[in-house]
């Protein structure tokens, strides 16, 4: 009942040293009174004294009892153990440093990844009623999820009853001009319900209405552009040359639209194309409505639309998925879990390593421990002491690990934008720190228990059987490290193949310039003239070699796709689809895209001239196999206007370096005018050296365009940044794991050699050559590493299928990767055993036999 009060008093007792002195006085007094009593009964002084002492009982036992009752013996022992542990650890500073460093790396990585995992998967989205948010998807006849077409979204908005509100949104960039420097801002077009669905908090002003030229901006943009003092509300701005008024300032939903600074109305019309499915859609479920009900309703609506708009929507359906899944994305989720698993292995490895170190050390303390056992130390006390020692190590490791994690989490938040979903949520918090403390406790128990299972504790010299436990420990370490190394080498293999993959275009000395056209150039002729003028200006610069333009910035991850039919299919409703680009004639030469057949565009392919198209090699192969595609016709889009194929160009992958090239149709910019456009400029020197001249040349034609410049090589590297980052993380963990395992091997082999000194001495005395002895030691090390690597590779073989989607043109069973790992561990084993084996070979037989 009132246990805690007793505990409190006892705790108080720990710090009251006066109590014991009082007891002694009380006992003395008691004995004196007893003695006096006996004297009165007729005993002599001496007899009475002894009789009294006998009557009192064993005084030292009573004092011990009293002491234990008075304080908390466990805690006092703990104090002693702690002092003792700190002293021994200080004395063995190299052991301590090695253990703490290993634990710090393991725990630091673990805490960091816990923060990431909790931010990405466990924390609810930071919106009111986050659990009611769902992403809406169209589902094609093959069950793949698609974003929405505008009209289909409007139909859902009108018909769905399970949602309180639905909204569509679409990311874009926009050139912001008209007030200060022209800049390109990340923007999103949203329907008015967006604010309600995500519960967006307005700092000032009001939300958007349908199809009105108003925008809502982020506080960051407001401060950057207009400072803190003046309210931007009511100001007029130009976006891509169109006039908008700022209606409000709001907190942007950064998880959903990271980096977006501006929301503008998304104008949807029921007459828009139903086959252009490019809108993100989300809905807020009515309170109490389960997701399944909404899914069923959407399916019904999808079926209705399939009947009503058979030409575009037949066979299509709709569904809803939790918004959090949509935001994180499958690939990112897989990558994060993979890295988390890697870190988990690294952490286990660190624990095993420290356990091994501690076990080896407790063996070297065998003499001390057996002396203490002989003097009556209980097993519990010895265990307590070892545990205290591992706890001290674990706490030190955890503190250092937490420091590492704090730094790493900061770095992730700063650099992870665009790499990691929900990166703004990544920080050290109570939950993750709690989990880290959990990890630390487990670490203590694992490493402490292992060292207890050593012969010195069992009091015997029966060594060989115990050695098996330690062997298992080291085999386990090598196995874990080789799993990590295998994953890393598969990823590295993918990465090398990706780097070597030919994008089909020459990215060296190419500067990409995104140009947002001023809207005053409303007619196509003016736009064409504008780009002709810019190209003319640029070509006059000494640093500029060639200038081309395309509607898609290469490696931006964007792309455009259209439907088409072949000439012979004109009566059919079946369409093919292929990517398309609108390019200037110089585009191909600037990027070194080879012409395979026919001809490329010339300035003669202008508006009014016969409509022409250049197709890519893979398109030619797919649609005109064994024929000459030049001179063939295709029917463009749903309108079916006829285009003549005039040439075949090489395949390129300009969307992202790791995406296979789609069949591609090129159209001349002069016949299919687009905006914005991206200039590709071949420079004579380093691309960025030309940047400022390029800017002023363009602004000399029109000062109102917004420009974003980037060397194309950077854009290409950026398009595989996710792969690069996950590869670097895995490689780092794998190397750490290998080093840890190598230290473990080294420690074990050295220990083994020390322990077998006598035996080795005898063998040397009986005629074994030093070379025999050296090889014997190395063989043992190789055998352990070999077993570990074999187990690890087998485990890796069984689990590497999970990695398939993260690999690029690399099978998870790639032989070379397995071979590389095996070789690596052979080298590690030989290196780790080099020193100890040498020492064994140099042993002086006489001294070794006398030893002990």
């Amino acid at each position: 009942m009132r246990e805690w009060r007793v505990l409190l008093r006892r705790l108080g007792g720990v710090f009251q040293s006066g109590r014991a002195a009082h007891l002694e006085e009380e006992l003395r007094e008691h004995a004196a009174q007893l003695a006096e009593e006996y004297r009165r009964q007729g005993m002599t002084e001496e007899e009475a004294h002894y009789a009294a002492l006998r009557e009192m009982g064993n005084l030292s036992l009573i004092q011990q009892d009293y002491h234990e009752q008075g304080g908390l013996p466990l805690m006092e022992n703990f104090w002693l153990d702690l002092k003792y542990a700190l002293r021994t650890l200080r004395r063995n500073s190299s052991f301590t440093m090695a253990s703490v460093a290993t634990l710090a790396i393991g725990l630091g990585a673990m805490i960091t990844m816990l923060c990431v995992v909790s931010a990405v998967f466990w924390k609810p989205l930071p919106y009111p009623s986050a659990e009611r948010l769902a992403a809406l998807k169209q589902v094609d006849p093959r069950n793949s999820l698609w974003t929405f077409s505008g009209p289909a979204f409007l139909d859902v908005e009108e018909r769905a009853r399970t949602f309180s509100a639905v909204t569509a949104y679409e990311r874009r960039t926009a050139a912001l001009t008209g007030d200060g420097d022209a800049e390109v801002v990340e923007a999103a077009g949203v329907t008015p319900a967006f604010f309600r669905v995500f519960g967006i908090h307005l700092n000032a002003g009001r939300v958007l209405e349908n199809a009105q030229p108003f925008v809502v901006i982020s506080r960051g943009l407001a401060e950057r552009k207009w400072g803190n003092d003046s309210s931007p509300i009511g100001r007029a701005i130009l976006l891509d040359g169109l006039r908008y008024t700022i209606a409000g300032v709001a907190e942007m939903p950064i998880d959903l639209l990271p980096g977006v600074d501006l929301l503008l109305p998304l104008d949807l019309k029921a007459t828009d194309s139903r086959s252009a499915r490019e809108l993100n859609a989300a809905g807020l479920l009515r309170p109490g409505v389960p997701l399944g009900e909404a899914q069923a309703e959407l399916e019904t609506i999808g079926t209705q639309l399939g009947r009503e708009f058979g030409r575009t929507d037949a066979g299509w359906s709709m569904t809803a998925i939790p918004l959090a899944n949509e935001i994180v994305g499958r690939r990112a989720a897989q990558t994060i879990w993979m890295i988390f698993a890697a870190v988990g292995l690294l952490w286990l490895l660190a624990c095993a390593n420290v356990a091994g170190l501690q076990a080896a050390r407790s063996l070297s303390r065998a003499h001390e421990i057996s002396t203490r056992v002989a003097l009556g130390a209980s097993k519990r006390r010895l265990l307590g002491q070892t545990m205290t020692e591992s706890a001290v190590l674990a706490v030190a490791g955890a503190l250092a690990g937490a420091a590492i994690a704090a730094g790493a989490v900061d770095a992730i938040r700063q650099m992870g934008n665009g790499l990691l979903p929900r990166v703004s949520q990544v920080h050290l918090d109570g939950a993750t720190v709690g989990a880290a403390i959990g990890c630390m406790l487990i670490t203590t128990v694992i490493s402490g228990l292992f060292s207890v299972r050593t012969p010195s504790f069992q009091g015997g010299r029966e060594v060989s059987r115990r050695d098996r436990g330690r062997d298992a420990l080291i085999v386990g370490q090598v196995a874990m490290a080789s799993v990590l190394l295998l994953c890393a080498s598969l990823l590295a293999e993918s990465f090398l193949r990706l780097r070597a993959a030919d994008p089909g275009l020459d990215v060296e000395r190419v500067l990409e310039v995104r140009v947002s056209l001023p809207s005053r150039l409303e007619n196509e002729r003016a736009k064409i003239a504008f780009f002709r003028d810019i190209a003319g200006q640029l070509e006059r610069l000494p640093q500029v070699d060639k200038v081309g333009a395309t509607n898609i910035a290469p490696f931006s991850g964007e792309g455009t796709v259209n439907r088409f039919r072949l000439e012979r299919e004109s009566g059919s409703n079946e369409y093919h689809s292929a990517a398309w680009r609108a390019v200037t004639p110089e585009f191909f030469r600037t990027l070194g895209i080879p012409l395979k057949r026919g001809r490329l565009f010339t300035t003669a392919d202008r508006d009014g001239a016969p409509e022409v198209v250049v197709v890519s090699e893979s398109m030619a192969r797919q649609f005109w196999p064994n024929q000459d595609p030049v001179g063939q016709h295709l029917l463009w889009g749903s309108s079916g206007s006829v285009k003549t194929v005039i040439g075949v160009a090489g395949d390129i992958r300009d969307k992202a370096a790791d995406e296979r090239p789609l069949p591609m149709m090129y159209r001349p910019f002069a016949q299919l005018t687009q905006a914005p456009m991206t200039l590709v400029i071949k420079t004579r020197g380093a691309p960025l050296v030309a940047a400022s001249d390029v800017r002023s040349a363009i602004w000399s034609v029109n000062p109102d365009v917004a420009l974003v410049l980037q060397p194309m090589r950077e854009a290409m590297a950026h398009s595989i940044l996710g792969r690069t980052a996950s590869l670097s993380a895995m490689a780092a963990f794998a190397i750490l794991a290998m080093i840890t395992a190598a230290f473990g091997l080294y420690g074990l082999i050295s220990y083994r050699v020390n322990q077998r000194q006598q035996e080795i001495g005898i063998r040397l005395a009986l005629g074994a050559t030093p070379a025999n002895v050296r090889w014997g030691v190395q063989q043992r090390c190789l055998r352990l590493a070999g077993t570990g690597a074999a187990i690890g590779l087998a485990a890796g073989y069984l689990t590497s299928g999970l990695m398939q989607s993260l690999l690029y043109e690399t099978a998870p069973t790639e032989v070379s990767a397995y071979f590389a790992v095996a070789l690596m561990f052979a080298v590690v084993a030989l290196t780790a055993s080099f020193g100890p084996a040498g020492r064994a070979a140099r042993l002086d037989p006489a001294a070794a036999i006398r030893h002990e």
Binding site: V6, L27, E29, Q33, E55, M56, N58, I62, Y66, Q69
Partner: protein, 113 residues
């Protein structure tokens, strides 16, 4: 001195004996408590008198008795113990429990015979 006719102190009964002694005699020091218990036992109990001190500490920690420093009849400093209200309640409970146990034990032993 110790002979076969003396019983060991049954486990857990020392607390009860001390509580009862303090309840009937009021404030006492350790020696007084020990003497009183010996008197009542009339030589049938093998009590190491020193063992009452850890018991006294335990009772005090539980809040059943309290102690204060004072001066004994022969003018020496001594610690005096008295029972608290809570201690009296506990004595009642424990005594009832003890009675029940004794009654049960004697019934059991009667039947066995």
């Amino acid at each position: 001195m110790a002979s076969d006719s003396k019983a060991e102190v049954p486990y857990g009964t020392l607390d009860l004996m001390i509580l009862k002694t303090l309840a009937s005699l009021g404030t006492l020091h350790g020696y007084g408590i020990a003497r009183r218990i010996e008197q009542v036992a009339r030589g049938s109990l093998a009590l190491n008198q020193g063992t009452i001190y850890p018991a006294l500490l335990r009772l005090e920690q539980g809040g059943w008795i309290r102690s204060s420093l004072g001066v004994s009849e022969n003018n020496r400093r001594a610690r005096f113990y008295e029972v608290t209200k809570k201690g009296l309640r506990r004595l009642e409970e424990e005594a009832a429990n003890w009675q029940k146990t004794v009654a049960m034990m004697s019934r059991l032993l009667e039947n066995e015979r």
